[in-house]
């Protein structure tokens, strides 16, 4: 006998939605336990590893993969490259959701989440973390303003949409400045760990390295996210536009590579490339995937003009540069009397839940808001229900 369950029509969501909701529920439960009993019971963090998976993944990776927002805003509004406009809204939304995810993750990670606003009243001017906190809070506001017209249009509020659009320029410039600051400051955050961070990564120009790699990550992320959403929502892929972004990646990745090698050579530490065991391996993996692979791949027209080539290239670049974030914020830091640390599944379930919420939020926005160009949207609205199965 076949079991038949009749869901109310309103609950007939695609399976992926149920999967995401389940993951979110698990993470939410774990977070409640964390707030009640502390961070210890649900994670493997310890006194030698005060920062672990949450910081490397949610903060360092989360902020880096959200850099597409300021890159596109800069290209479309400031440099007025109008043909790139179809990519603007999805990128700004990715950034907005990305930063919200960072903020939520930090609330779980902070010992006193209810005091996060103390950053606004107690200022320690020498603290890099204060700068990042202020920048991220301000940038979330800017992103909300940049994205507001899309919501207003979705609700058919023409006047407010027009109003925001009219005064958008100062916010765009402010947003690009804020992004430049905190993307690079995430690197500055590690400057104070001079004696702990492996010399393959510690350099006074860490902020410059972080900003340069954020550009590679942001561009790859736009390609990645456009490719996936075009597949899932069965809308056209803006290959000719993505091709242009892909063309820029060899330059950002190349700049990173040259700066990195020049910096090591200048410090007389090129030998470390071969003599540091696991650290050398991690470094090579990061450079091969995050710099050399994209330089080679995206220099080939064939790769840039094929949907699969673009997606594969973007994924490889992202893997390499995200490994960089893990290296500098976790793997490359030496501990005294190292007790070891590997994140527990329970600990990671919180990050997974926040990520699931982000994907769901993007999906909902893509379905109900004019996220892709107006003409495309009508086409999209017709084909959207087909994605349900």
């Amino acid at each position: 006998m076949k079991l038949r369950i009749n869901f109310h029509p309103a609950l007939r969501w695609p399976p992926i939605v149920w999967v995401l909701l389940t993951l979110m529920a698990i993470g939410f439960t774990v977070a409640m336990v964390r707030f009640a009993l502390g961070i210890g019971p649900i994670s493997n963090l310890n006194n030698a590893y005060g920062w672990g998976f949450w910081i490397s993944f949610d903060l360092f990776t989360g902020v880096a993969i959200s850099s597409g927002g300021f890159i596109m805003a800069g290209l479309v509004y400031i440099l007025q490259i109008k043909e790139l406009k179809p990519l603007l809204r999805p990128s700004v939304l990715t950034a907005f959701i990305g930063y919200l995810m960072v903020a939520i993750a930090l609330l779980v990670d902070l010992g006193h989440p209810e005091r996060i606003w103390y950053m606004l009243i107690y200022w320690n001017h020498t603290s890099v973390l204060l700068e990042i906190g202020i920048c991220v809070m301000s940038y979330l506001t800017v992103l909300a303003i940049e994205f507001a017209p899309v919501v207003f249009e979705g609700m058919k509020w023409e006047k407010p949409a027009h109003f925001v659009h009219k005064f958008i320029m100062p916010f765009v410039i402010f947003g690009v400045v804020l992004s430049t600051l905190h993307q690079s400051s995430l690197g500055s955050l590690l400057l104070i760990q001079m004696t702990k961070l492996h010399p393959l990564w510690w350099t006074p120009i860490l902020p410059v390295m972080f900003f340069t790699s954020a550009l590679s990550i942001g561009l790859s992320m736009i390609i990645f996210e456009s490719s996936l959403s075009s597949r899932y929502f069965k809308r056209g892929l803006e290959i000719h536009l993505l091709e242009k972004l892909a063309r820029a990646i060899p330059y950002t990745a190349g700049t990173y590579l040259v700066l990195k090698l020049a910096d090591l050579a200048f410090a007389g530490e090129l030998g470390l490339l071969f003599t540091s065991g696991t650290m050398s391996l991690l470094f090579w993996a990061e450079i091969l995937l995050g710099c050399i692979a994209p330089i080679v791949l995206f220099s080939m027209q064939k790769v840039r003009q094929s949907p699969n080539g673009l997606l594969a290239g973007a994924i490889i670049t992202l893997l390499g540069m995200i490994l960089n974030r893990f290296n500098v914020s976790w793997f490359g830091i030496a501990r005294l009397n190292d007790p070891g640390y590997a994140p527990s599944l329970v600990e990671m379930s919180i990050s997974v839940a926040i990520f699931s919420a982000g994907i769901l939020a993007f999906g909902l926005a893509a379905k109900y808001l004019p996220l892709f160009d107006a003409e495309e949207h009508t086409h999209n609205a017709v084909s959207a229900p087909a994605t349900g199965d």
């Binding site: 502390g38 210890g40 006194n47 920062w51 996060i116 320690n124 020498t126 690009v176 001079m194």
Partner: protein, 259 residues
């Protein structure tokens, strides 16, 4: 000028009795496992018959230029004029950046406390409650062999060098903490390499210098970058307007072709 207090530890005198840990636990009302002192570098070294053993009670170094205080976003850490690096729990947001910033890996966190109990950072306080009534810290007070001593930093440095000069074969000719990380208020004398005691190799310039220099440049950079971007935005806008005015027909054709 107020006195700047400091500790000195002489590894040749330590018998690894751990009474300091117990005294600390009692004085500061913390569990033994969470005492602000832990033993580092305990163990036997060398090859028979030349065996050596050394141990060291490890606690906050009370740096003259503390990295925790530089890193803390809300300024919960402060270096007092009389020596101790102190913590204001009322300001702490629990971000644990101080734990990452400290080159000696000193601050510990209340991992097993939720938001209602309040999870804070724990570390040696130099027993400020005892200093106020003219007593020395509990660990120093209880040390049976005078391996730990407390006093004015300048006096202790002079005494450390005097001890080395009196018995040059007994000590390594170095006072750890005199210059390390810009100077600390915990000074160490040893007969074994300092790394054997679990102490990191530190430069003489404070670790926080690079990051503070970068922070100082932040606001000027932000203003300059904002000005440049505004200039570029206006320039590009003007250029595009000129282009459109110069070639309205071409532009029209272009838009037609696009649509």
């Amino acid at each position: 000028m107020t006195k700047q207090y400091a500790y000195i530890f002489d590894a040749t005198r330590c018998i690894d009795c751990r009474a300091c840990m117990i005294a600390c636990s009692v004085e500061n009302n913390v569990e033994m496992g969470e005492s602000y002192i832990w033993l580092a570098g305990a163990g036997v070294m060398g090859e028979y018959p030349n065996l050596k053993r050394a141990s060291m009670p490890y606690h906050c170094m009370h740096c003259i230029e503390p990295d925790c205080a530089s890193a803390c976003p809300v300024g919960a850490w402060n270096k007092r004029e009389d020596g101790p690096v102190v913590y204001e729990a009322d300001k702490c947001i629990g971000c644990r950046y101080c734990m990452n910033a400290c080159p000696f890996q000193v601050p510990n966190f209340d991992w097993n406390k939720g938001v209602f109990e309040g999870a804070f950072i724990r570390k040696c306080t130099m027993c400020t409650q005892r200093l106020e009534v003219g007593q020395v810290p509990a660990c120093v007070h209880t040390c049976p062999t005078d391996a730990l001593k407390f006093g004015e930093r300048a006096d202790l440095i002079a005494e450390a060098h005097a001890r080395i000069d009196a018995n040059p074969e007994r000590y390594i000719n170095h006072v750890y903490g005199e210059f390390e990380n810009g100077g600390t208020s915990y000074l160490i004398l040893s007969h074994v390499p300092f790394s054997e005691l679990g102490l990191p190799e530190m430069p003489e310039t404070p670790v926080l210098e690079v990051s503070e220099a970068v922070m100082e440049g932040t606001i000027p950079f932000a203003l300059a970058w904002g000005t440049v971007l505004t200039g570029v935005a206006i320039g590009v806008n003007q250029m595009n307007k000129k282009k459109e005015a110069a070639a309205p027909v071409a532009a029209e054709k272009e838009t037609e072709a696009k649509s």
